[in-house]
């Protein structure tokens, strides 16, 4: 299934998700045709069970879809919708087919089927029909809630530096569309981890594209009578870029490979650290090798680098996840360090106390 997913979405995005489309989306336009094509090919429901109209894809299969979104800088909430639908299924609520996003930064309370509080940094919030989030009740229990964006008291628009919508939604005694108690196999940081996992894969995809673009530019651009790729100083930088691309890819893939009904928190943390560190280095090298042309709006390099600079900070920066890992490792002690690295069953990391 993985190969089919990858070839289908890459073909679709390379046809439709052009630099012009990305540019228009960055100025606030919803890419309706692109979204329709993704829907027609079943991607928003790819991870949902077949009875719900999905393809029952595993996380390992979903990895290539989400990586491709990064590769083409796709300005749509597809990764968010896949995650939202996964959590709805886990909670027994059933996947949705209208546009769905999710929020991990929340201060929601729920009582008698009504929700109050705020959702911060909701990806594509203003374009979504509904949003999945977690809400606490006054008995201390956590619920998965589905909220209709139209019932929000206020939508405060925000964008990240890639022009992607990251909105703040507030609700005041809004009726939930659906809700269920968060299943016991999931923790309160599940959406944070899912978001970090998705951004790691998108970063990996974007760095792959950046590497291809930069290597190809270095082969064409001539100075001192030869392509700049002929200079060792440039070759050494591109080699480091390739190493970082490989690291981000393998780290993200390992996290997805370890995910099933639960998310492998330790691998997710390592993936987000590795991908975020790679994002910083890759963006710097891409611009360094391209020179002034890469700094212009006309040339498409920035569509990748501005996303890398955004995504490395979203759903926990390298520092956030490093600290979580470091506290976990130190609490376990040195004798458990190596066993923990080599055995997923000993990697029970949590970011909530």
């Amino acid at each position: 299934m993985r190969e089919l997913f990858e070839s289908t979405i890459e073909r679709l995005l390379s046809d439709l998700c052009t630099p012009d489309l990305v540019h228009e989306a960055e100025s606030g336009e919803w890419p309706a045709a692109l979204w329709r094509a993704l829907e027609d090919n079943g991607f928003p429901l790819a991870g949902a069970p077949e009875v719900a109209g999905g393809a029952d894809a595993s996380w390992a299969d979903l990895y290539v879809i989400i990586r491709a979104l990064g590769r083409f800088a796709a300005p749509v909430p597809l990764a968010e919708m896949i995650i939202g639908n996964w959590l709805l299924e886990q909670a027994g609520l059933g996947a949705r087919s209208d546009i769905l996003s999710f929020a991990s930064e929340t201060s929601l309370t729920i009582g008698e089927g009504r929700v109050s509080g705020g959702l911060a940094q909701v990806p594509w919030g203003r374009f979504a029909d509904s949003v999945v989030a977690l809400a606490g009740d006054n008995a201390g229990q956590t619920h998965v809630v589905l909220l209709d964006v139209a019932t929000a008291e206020r939508v405060r628009q925000g964008t990240n530096i890639a022009g992607e919508a990251r909105d703040h939604l507030s609700f005041s005694a809004a009726a939930v569309v659906m809700s269920a108690v968060l299943p016991p196999h999931l923790a309160d940081d599940v959406l944070l981890a899912a978001g970090a996992m998705a951004r790691s894969a998108q970063i990996a995809g974007a760095i792959n594209a950046l590497l291809e673009m930069t290597a190809s530019y270095a082969g064409e651009r001539k100075q001192f009578g030869k392509p700049i790729a002929a200079f060792q100083a440039i070759q050494q930088q591109l080699a480091v870029l390739a190493e970082q691309a490989a690291a981000a890819n393998v780290a993200a893939e390992a996290a997805f490979a370890g995910a099933d009904q639960r998310l492998p928190m330790f691998s997710v943390a390592a993936a987000k650290v590795s991908a975020s560190e790679a994002a910083s280095q890759a963006a710097a090298i891409g611009h360094s090798v391209h020179g002034a042309i890469g700094f212009t709006q006309e040339y498409a390099l920035h569509m990748l680098t501005r996303r890398l600079w955004s995504w490395r900070s979203e759903f926990g920066s390298s520092t956030f996840w490093s600290k979580a890992l470091g506290e976990h490792v130190c609490a376990a002690g040195s004798a458990d360090f190596w066993p923990m690295l080599t055995n997923p069953e000993l990697q029970d990391l949590s970011t909530t106390q």
Binding site: G219, C330, G333, F337
Partner: protein, 383 residues
């Protein structure tokens, strides 16, 4: 080259089940082995320990059974060696024979050579070193000048190798030497590999002390050393290709990112169970980098197990791994409030002192940083 060749690969269950056995063995045999010796990593020499590993069947384990191996998968071998390295076990005696020489002899050797050399390697009794660098040939390996010339008895060896790790303890050297004229056979032609018995008259070995006073590498001189006809391994004139194939094995293993693991262990002990924010961040970031490198290294192991030659991917692992190994003592000396000490001081102070001094060698041995990045650039199609 494509980044997607670099794919995550989990360790199969049959290989994974070896882990508990090797851990139990190590905690028994090394129970009073001190941290400062564990810091030697794969430079720690102990012939008796190597013999014990041979008895357990953990040396040359990927080799066919008729040569003393276990026909185990590369992943089984991976589990064994990463456990040895993580524990800081003294593996240096057999290390090169197990990692590099045995696969080379299996691949390019005659039946007689395989029968002669492989079983003692599997028993942990036969040690090898690699003769590549010469006084004027480091990164520019093709410029070597040591020669082997045919005569009635076989071959006569003349010249000098340098920086040869463990030559003073080894029984054999696999040497890359010139057998043909550089002018007529091309830059990478005219070279051949020989298995040199280091007891041969005309060979002298002189250890070179490193900056910390240790003696790991050596100068090796060949003065009309007479080799038998069957000392040649592989094809005459194909030495360069044979060496290149060998290097993927040399560059992608866990020894390329675990050399400094001992200081991680002592630092976690020194920090205690409740790190401050800075300590937590640095320990966590190192943990993430180690996990990612291990996953990359396993990806290359998968490719090697499928008979591919992932030269550029192996170079990625070694370069990134060396950067981490070198940064470990740098980062940890900045977050643990203890100064490095050679004599006196805590286990952490001693381990930190040792690895701080050894770190520069990590990106020299097995190919320098610049050479590795050149190989990756070639993989990218830039040269």
């Amino acid at each position: 080259m494509s980044i997607s060749e670099f794919s995550y690969s989990a360790i199969p269950a049959d290989a994974e089940q070896l882990r508990a056995q090797v851990r139990a063995f190590l905690s028994d045999v090394l129970h009073d082995y001190p941290e400062e010796k564990r810091a030697y990593s794969w430079m720690g020499f102990d012939a008796e320990f190597s013999r014990l590993l041979g008895e357990k069947g953990w040396l040359g384990m990927a080799l066919p059974k008729q040569y003393g191996g276990a026909e185990a998968s590369p992943f089984s071998r991976y589990v064994i060696i990463e456990e040895l390295l993580a524990a800081g076990a003294p593996v240096s005696a057999h290390w090169i024979a197990d990692r590099q020489s045995a696969p080379l002899i299996l691949r390019f050797g005659t039946e007689a050579q395989r029968k002669k050399y492989l079983p003692p390697i599997c028993r942990g009794e036969s040690y090898f070193c690699i003769g590549m660098s010469e006084p004027n040939s480091g990164s520019d390996l093709a410029s070597i000048r040591t020669t082997a010339v045919r005569n009635a008895g076989g071959w006569v060896l003349n010249g000098q190798k340098v920086w040869t790790t463990n030559a003073q303890h080894s029984h054999y050297m696999i040497a890359l030497v010139r057998t043909g004229d550089k002018e007529t056979s091309g830059r990478h032609g005219g070279m051949s590999q020989f298995i040199v018995d280091l007891r041969t008259p005309g060979i002298s070995i002189r250890p070179i002390a490193d900056l910390a006073g240790g003696e790991h590498f050596n100068e090796v001189f060949f003065d009309n050393a007479q080799l038998e006809e069957d000392a040649l391994i592989g094809e005459e004139g194909r030495g360069w290709d044979q060496v290149t194939a060998e290097l993927a094995f040399e560059r992608s293993g866990p020894e390329r990112f675990l050399s400094s693991i001992a200081v991680m262990h002592t630092a976690i002990d020194a920090i205690g169970r409740q790190p401050d924010a800075l300590q937590a961040r640095e320990i966590g970031k190192i943990t993430a980098r180690l996990l990612t490198l291990r996953n990359m290294s396993l990806g290359v192991t998968r490719q090697l197990s499928e008979g591919k030659n992932p030269a550029w991917a192996a170079s990625c692992v070694k370069d990134l791994g060396n950067v981490l190994e070198q940064e470990l003592p740098e980062i940890l000396q900045g977050v643990v409030d203890e100064q490095p000490q050679v004599i006196g001081g805590s286990a952490h102070a001693k381990v930190l002192a040792y690895l701080t001094q050894m770190a520069p060698s990590f990106s020299l041995r097995g190919g320098t940083r610049e050479i590795l990045r050149g190989i990756i650039a070639r993989g990218l199609g830039l040269r």
